[in-house]
């Protein structure tokens, strides 16, 4: 299973968990005893699988991920879309408008060369840059949600520039029936 597939499934699981756990916690007073206390519900039980399809099928998720490209990359400490990123996102927008049944989660990520809190904010800014561009290309904004992982979920963990370049990214994750 490749990283993208795992991420798709992770997000699917998280989205399910979100549906099962309305915001605001548990009881009427807002407090959640969380079973054992603080050991709250996670996503382990909610994983669903979805067919990725054949990448040669232009309407398949596999095609979206592999041929169009599900991610764009950023310069250090920047959220400006590069020309390459814009081309990728234009292709994403065409696929997304042709496949309106998919809900869209944009994940923003940062490399490890920044503080934890700042990187969460930076990832949010990157995810938003992608959303704005996709909207400009005709994708409905109400199909899209964003999340920032900051530097918490690198795809490559080496302490070198080549890895940091891959980690400064925004990933467009598509899923069915999980628009929450």
């Amino acid at each position: 299973m490749n990283v993208t597939t795992k991420m798709l499934m992770l997000v699917a699981a998280l989205a399910l968990a979100a549906c099962n756990n309305p915001r605001g916690g548990g009881g009427a007073d807002g407090w959640d005893d969380g079973g054992a206390g603080g050991f709250g519900p996670g996503g382990a039980g909610g994983i669903s699988s979805g067919a990725l399809g054949d990448p040669n099928d232009p309407n398949s998720v596999a095609h979206f991920q592999q041929r169009i490209g599900d991610r764009v990359f950023f310069e250090t400490d920047a959220s400006t879309l590069t020309d390459t990123a814009r081309q990728t996102l234009a292709g994403q927008a065409r696929w997304l408008t042709a496949n309106p049944q998919y809900a869209i989660m944009i994940e923003g990520h940062a490399d490890e060369r920044g503080t934890r809190e700042y990187n969460v904010a930076l990832g949010a800014r990157r995810a938003n840059a992608v959303v704005q561009y996709l909207v400009s290309q005709g994708v409905q904004s109400n199909r899209m949600r964003t999340v920032s992982y900051g530097k918490e979920r690198p795809v490559e963990a080496c302490p070198e520039t080549r890895c940091w370049n891959l980690n400064r990214r925004a990933v467009t994750v598509v899923s069915t029936g999980l628009s929450g």
Binding site: G30, T115, E117, V147
Partner: protein
């Protein structure tokens, strides 16, 4: 230290408050005691930096009944480790001692301690009745040949035996340095495991010396950056439980928790309590912009503190609760700003080269600790609250996230070496005594509790 295990199983139950009593064991020489309280040869000025640690002896405490026997040596080891770990003191090992302390009330043979160059001597005694224990100690100034301050006695549960040692350590440290202690305190942090690409992160809390680790979450949800309340009873942290970052408030006694400050369609993170514990300040991201908000934790009233098309995060209150220091990239790169705690004009205080982040106001109010990155290196530094007198205390591949000891003299932070796992380290405010804090595995995001009552 690793060979020491508590003879009594560790209990999750809250510790009974320690009872402090002044022993009137020494009625004589009040004048000498009074003089010693303010000055005298037995004194360490932390801010002046210590080149040569003060030699001290702490013989095994005296067991005053059979129940105390199993704690007598271990208590002295807790005290010795605490003092040694400050870098301000050096222990003279028991093998070099001439005098043996067999009775808590026997006169001290100053000549014997002078002969081995001890400058301070700590004697103690312990007795146990059921699950209650009583620990007392005295501090002697060997150079001037007199007791320093009154003897003190602590009483509490045997479950809390290490805390007794920490209380003794705090009293000794305070008498010699004139500063508040910090040994009877805890640290909440994130315990890490698993591959970096899919890290498991659990909330954990431990004593400041790494003992008595307890886990507060099971690791199924990603958690970051926990923070203690100044009352020590609650923590705030950010969790991805539910998919997006949200802030949770946990009561440590019950381990009950709730989401606070949440708003659909936003991400909330970087929380900190106000000094009185009544409100929190935090970051809220929406539409790519991150601003600071303040939430009243009892009535849910929320006010927006910043409003700029940029990032404002990592806020921290001044100890009087009137001001907030935070980081923002409104000028183009991350810099530190100070503003009134209810919002208003922010004043930039960092002007050096590089990027500044995660500012934390010292509990003494005199300094702000921060993370700085410049030319590929990361530093923990301190500056005065107006931004002057910046000093970098550390340098490494990645140092970040300082937290202050309750006395404002020691800073703990996360250090990550290139390709290595993160760990907790501490350094004193003069930049000396850099040391690793023992944790069961990789660890990050420490936050110090206040001194325990």
């Amino acid at each position: 230290m690793s060979a020491i295990t508590p003879p009594v199983p560790h209990s999750r139950a809250r510790l009974a408050p320690l009872v402090l009593a002044v022993l009137t064991l020494v009625a004589a020489s009040f004048a000498a005691l009074a003089a010693n309280a303010q000055s005298g040869p037995l004194r360490i000025e932390i801010t002046e930096g210590v080149i040569e640690p003060m030699p001290f002896a702490v013989p095994s405490f005296v067991a005053e009944n059979s129940g105390g026997g199993q704690y007598a040596e271990q208590l002295s080891r807790v005290v010795a480790a605490n003092l040694t770990n400050t870098g301000l003191f050096r222990e003279i090992p028991a093998s070099a001692h001439i005098s043996r302390i067999t009775s808590f009330d026997a006169p001290v043979q100053y000549a014997d301690w002078r002969a081995i160059n001890a400058q301070a001597l700590i004697t103690g005694a312990v007795s146990v009745q059921g699950n209650r224990m009583s620990v007392k100690f005295r501090l002697f100034d060997i150079v001037s040949g007199r007791q320093m301050g009154d003897g003190l006695q602590f009483q509490g549960s045997t479950d809390a035996w290490r805390r007794m040692g920490h209380k003794v350590s705090d009293a000794v440290y305070s008498r010699i340095t004139g500063e508040g202690g910090y040994f009877d305190s805890r640290v909440v942090f994130v315990a890490e495991s698993g591959p970096r690409e899919n890290r498991v992160k659990r909330l954990a809390v431990m004593d400041q010396d790494g003992f008595n680790v307890e886990y507060l979450s099971d690791g199924r949800a990603l958690v970051i950056a926990p923070r203690f309340s100044q009352q020590g009873d609650r923590i705030l942290y950010t969790s991805y439980e539910g998919g997006t970052p949200r802030i949770f408030l946990m009561e440590l006694a019950s381990m009950r928790r709730q989401v606070v400050g949440d708003q659909p369609g936003t991400m909330t993170f970087a929380p900190r309590f106000s000094p009185d514990g009544s409100s929190m300040i935090y970051s809220l991201s929406v539409g790519g912009t991150t601003d600071l908000y303040r939430l009243n934790l009892s009535n849910g009233q929320r006010i927006q503190l910043t409003n700029a098309p940029s990032i404002a995060t990592a806020p921290s209150f001044s100890p009087d609760g009137r001001q907030v220091v935070f980081e923002s990239d409104r000028s183009g790169t991350s810099q530190l700003y100070v503003m009134p705690a209810n919002g208003g004009e922010a004043r930039r205080i960092s002007f050096g080269q590089g990027r500044y982040g995660t500012p934390v106001w010292s509990p003494r109010g005199d300094l702000i600790a921060f993370t700085k990155s410049h030319q590929g290196r990361f530093h923990i530094g301190v500056m005065r609250t107006d931004g002057s007198e910046e000093r970098l205390l550390t340098a490494s591949f990645l140092d970040e996230g300082p937290t202050w000891a309750p006395n404002g003299r020691v800073i703990m932070f996360t250090r990550e070496t290139a390709g290595g796992d993160p760990a907790l380290w501490s350094v004193d405010v003069s930049g000396r005594n850099l040391r690793r804090i023992p944790t069961p595995g990789p660890a990050s995001d420490p936050a110090w509790s206040p001194l325990r009552p």
